[in-house]
């Protein structure tokens, strides 16, 4: 099936799923489970943003959770220090994380594979340690209190759902555009892309900036939802969850990471009683999907066959 038609089909499926999701609060009144769904959508936005970079552009960055953490601190610190409302501080967080992503993208331009992964992982850990140790600014591990937005979780549910829908719509139009064509070309073969006239440096940087900005947005929303930001938001474990969600759901597919985010987070809630064992389960699933089902659950459902890279 052609790439465009495949993406169009996925997009229609996503719209149906989002329409069904919009009805959920009518049936789920329990605040705890609404909260679980909100956090699932936080991860779905992160997984979708990371998928743009890793799944569609082939840049295996390991810093999505760090960018979410930076977005959370950006909105929290600006709001706390200036009294500006979230309507101003959240866009600031998007711009700030987008700019940092752009700078990081320029630094790691020549790197690929394990070198890119290790460099971005180091960057993520440095950012987390800076947040953790800048006690005078961030209050370190005590956490930074952030103002809330809604009195009940239904407001949060629809804000996250709307943001997720917006992300999917933007991703869909990006993928169908000239930019999407170039990003996927870079993923498959940078040398062939450059030979074809694609400005590889420019488009890789754009992908880093957009993905980081979307992670920053997700983190900023989460900060106001949780009303607290801690460095734990940017741990390697959180990035591991985002990677698991994307790989299990279907890397390089529009809907897969969203499906993966809901599945992994909901299952992790159900498995909460078994503690650390849930991580073993997810790790084994990631290995199994990476080895046997490279197009993920979404690929299995849609019958998509992935050629070996």
């Amino acid at each position: 099936m052609g790439g465009d038609r495949r993406t169009a089909l996925e997009f229609r499926a996503a719209l149906v799923a989002l329409a069904i999701a919009a009805l959920v609060p009518a049936f789920v009144e329990n605040a705890y489970w609404l909260g679980v769904l909100v956090v699932s959508m936080y991860f779905a936005i992160l997984a979708g943003a990371w998928n743009l970079l890793a799944g569609y552009t082939g840049q295996f960055s390991l810093a999505p959770a760090a960018f979410a953490m930076m977005g959370a601190y950006a909105t929290g610190l600006l709001g706390n220090n200036t009294g500006l409302p979230p309507l101003v501080t959240i866009p600031f967080a998007i711009l700030a994380t987008g700019a940092i992503g752009l700078a990081l993208g320029r630094v790691v331009l020549r790197l690929s594979g394990p070198y890119l992964a290790l460099t971005t992982l180091s960057f993520a850990e440095i950012m987390r340690l800076v947040a953790s140790n800048s006690i005078n600014v961030t209050r370190g591990d005590l956490g930074l209190p952030v103002t809330g937005l809604f009195q009940n979780r239904i407001g949060w549910y629809y804000l996250f759902l709307g943001t997720l829908a917006l992300l999917l719509v933007l991703l869909y139009f990006l993928l169908r555009s000239r930019a999407g064509l170039f990003l996927q070309a870079i993923r498959d073969d940078e040398v062939a892309a450059a030979r074809s006239g694609v400005d590889v440096v420019f488009w890789k940087t754009v992908a880093f900036a957009l993905s980081s900005a979307a992670c920053g947005l997700s983190g900023a929303l989460y900060a106001h939802f949780a009303e607290l930001v801690t460095p734990d938001l940017g741990t390697v474990g959180q990035t591991g969850l985002v990677v698991s969600m994307t790989v299990i759901g279907g890397m390089g597919t529009l809907v897969g990471p969203v499906v993966g985010a809901f599945l992994v987070y909901l299952v992790s809630e159900w498995l909460r009683d078994v503690g650390g064992y849930q991580l073993i389960v997810f790790s084994l699933l990631v290995i199994a999907f990476a080895r046997f089902f490279r197009s993920g659950l979404w690929g299995i459902v849609t019958g998509l066959r992935r050629q070996p890279a």
């Binding site: 099936m1 052609g2 790439g3 465009d4 000239r178 064509l181 170039f182 996927q184 070309a185 993923r187 498959d188 073969d189 040398v191 062939a192 892309a193 450059a194 030979r195 074809s196 006239g197 694609v198 400005d199 590889v200 390089g252 992935r306 050629q307 070996p308 890279a309």
Partner: protein, 239 residues
């Protein structure tokens, strides 16, 4: 003015002189064969001409303007298109999208690029597989697809590195016909090939390299009877 001027270009890899003071000119509309034994520096020279390697010395002029040191994407935009010896494609993108990448990157709008891609697909007889991902094609079809991508926007010069290697005779003929037809309209080519009958048939002029140096540059029949070429490349002793 020459279309392409290669002047004293050199490239070393450690102690190895891969390209050693190579000079030649290519006029607009010329179809020049580049032959030589394995390791003679042909692909290294093509890598320099297409911007994938920087030369250590010498200069390259395209339409009289220096172009050495430019990146591959910049050279592609100036009309230097390169086909690789080992096929390089977008394996997870379908045949049409593979062609669209070059079309869109080189300035065609969506409709013009789609029209051009479909015309090329038909000319290269890839219609039956146009919706398949490039990674699902046979080796020969992949070669044809990469070959076609070089012509999404007619280049100033097409640098073709072994387009006929390991390709079925039918597909080889499709490419040969394509090259003949484009050459007749003034398209310039630099064609690297070990397929001597095809070089003789297609290329009025041939450059032969050995050990990084140009050892012959003349009309193809003259080159193939040059004692140095016979000794270094074609096998046997010079008379």
């Amino acid at each position: 003015m020459s279309l392409l001027s290669v002047r004293s270009v050199a490239k070393r890899f450690g102690g190895l002189k891969a390209v050693d003071a190579v000079s030649f000119e290519l006029e607009p509309g010329e179809l020049v064969g580049l032959i030589g034994p394995n390791g003679s520096g042909k692909t290294t020279l093509l890598n320099i001409l297409s911007g994938h390697l920087d030369p250590d010395a010498g200069e390259i002029l395209l339409d009289g303007a220096p172009c050495h040191g430019l990146k591959p994407e910049a050279l592609a935009k100036r009309g230097v298109m390169r086909m690789f010896q080992l096929t390089r494609l977008f394996r997870r993108m379908n045949v049409v999208d593979n062609l669209l990448v070059a079309g869109r990157a080189l300035g065609l709008d969506a409709a013009a690029a789609a029209e051009r891609a479909l015309a090329l697909i038909e000319e290269l007889r890839l219609t039956a597989v146009q919706r398949l991902d490039a990674g699902q094609l046979s080796g020969g079809q992949q070669k044809l697809l990469e070959f076609g991508a070089c012509f999404m926007v007619p280049p100033r010069i097409a640098l073709l590195d072994e387009p006929f290697a390991a390709v079925h005779p039918t597909m080889k003929e499709i490419m040969s016909q394509f090259i003949r037809a484009r050459h007749a309209t003034g398209q310039s080519f630099l064609l690297v090939s070990h397929d001597m009958p095809v070089v003789v048939e297609l290329c009025p002029r041939t450059v032969c390299m050995n050990a990084g140096q140009v050892i012959a540059d003349a009309d193809t029949r003259t080159v193939l009877t040059t004692p140095q070429v016979i000794e270094a490349y074609l096998g046997g002793e010079a008379a």
